[in-house]
């Protein structure tokens, strides 16, 4: 087995709360992070709703896991890519999204075009979709 890090991308395509996919995916990302690989998370289609600002699932007695995204940079997940086209299709802008500050205070949540995402996706060793 080679010693080089593998590039792993987690693709989130589902809205939060209606199903358990989003929550389970986040658990997988956190669990996988301990293996010190090069990890990124991508949010597209209804997955962009996972990063919507102002979620309050306590009204449904559910856990607000959007807060857990804030911990991802501590687990070396430095990129939370949001596909711009998916955001626009849902009448949203970057202003609608939560911020996830890295250690240097820059925001790990970044908008990315389909063209650029396609390129980054193609460079991955492993792509897992939820």
């Amino acid at each position: 087995m080679g010693s080089s890090k593998k590039r792993i991308m987690y693709v989130n395509r589902r809205a939060p709360y209606g199903t358990a996919y989003a929550l389970e995916a986040l658990d997988v990302v956190l669990a996988g992070a301990v293996f010190e690989q090069e990890v990124s998370a991508v949010f597209l289609d209804d997955g962009v709703y996972q990063l919507k600002r102002g979620q309050n699932p306590s009204v449904l007695d559910m856990k607000d896991f959007s807060k857990t995204f804030g911990a991802l940079p501590d687990f070396d997940v430095m990129h939370l890519y949001v596909e711009e086209e998916s955001l626009v299709q849902r009448g949203m802008t970057a202003e609608d999204l939560i911020e996830v500050p890295r250690e240097d205070d820059s925001n790990a949540v970044t908008l990315i075009s389909s063209t650029d995402l396609s390129m980054i996706m193609d460079q991955q060793d492993v792509v897992l979709q939820f």
């Binding site: 809205a15 709360y17 209606g18 209804d46 709703y49 979620q55 309050n56 299709q89």
Partner: protein, 100 residues
């Protein structure tokens, strides 16, 4: 009849099927992930916009709040209901049709 839809229009075709088949003057209630369909600026906004001419369309407010969706950004004409309102709609209508 009360029609209930619970999935986002980008995930499932239930909203489209419901709007094709629900009889005029019906009540349509959007709950869970279907509440995203009631927001302005989405690529499926036209579905609800045109349906408002035929139906009364309601959205379950706790499901909006859970997802961080602002009432001020609802498509104009869509009404919010709370759980009591949900019960009232179920009682008012002689039948309930959940689109799955």
């Amino acid at each position: 009849m009360l029609h209930i839809v619970n999935k986002s229009p980008s995930e499932k075709s239930t909203l489209v099927s419901c709007l094709r088949l629900a009889a005029d003057n019906g009540d349509i209630l959007l709950i869970e992930d279907a509440v995203y369909a009631a927001m302005t600026g989405t690529h499926t906004e036209f579905l609800i916009q045109s349906a408002l001419a035929k139906y009364r369309i309601y959205v379950l407010e706790p499901d909006l709040e859970c997802r961080g969706l602002e009432i001020s950004r609802l498509i104009s004409g869509v009404k919010t209901v709370d759980y009591d309102g949900f019960v009232a709609l179920s009682v008012k209508n002689s039948a309930v049709h959940s689109w799955l």
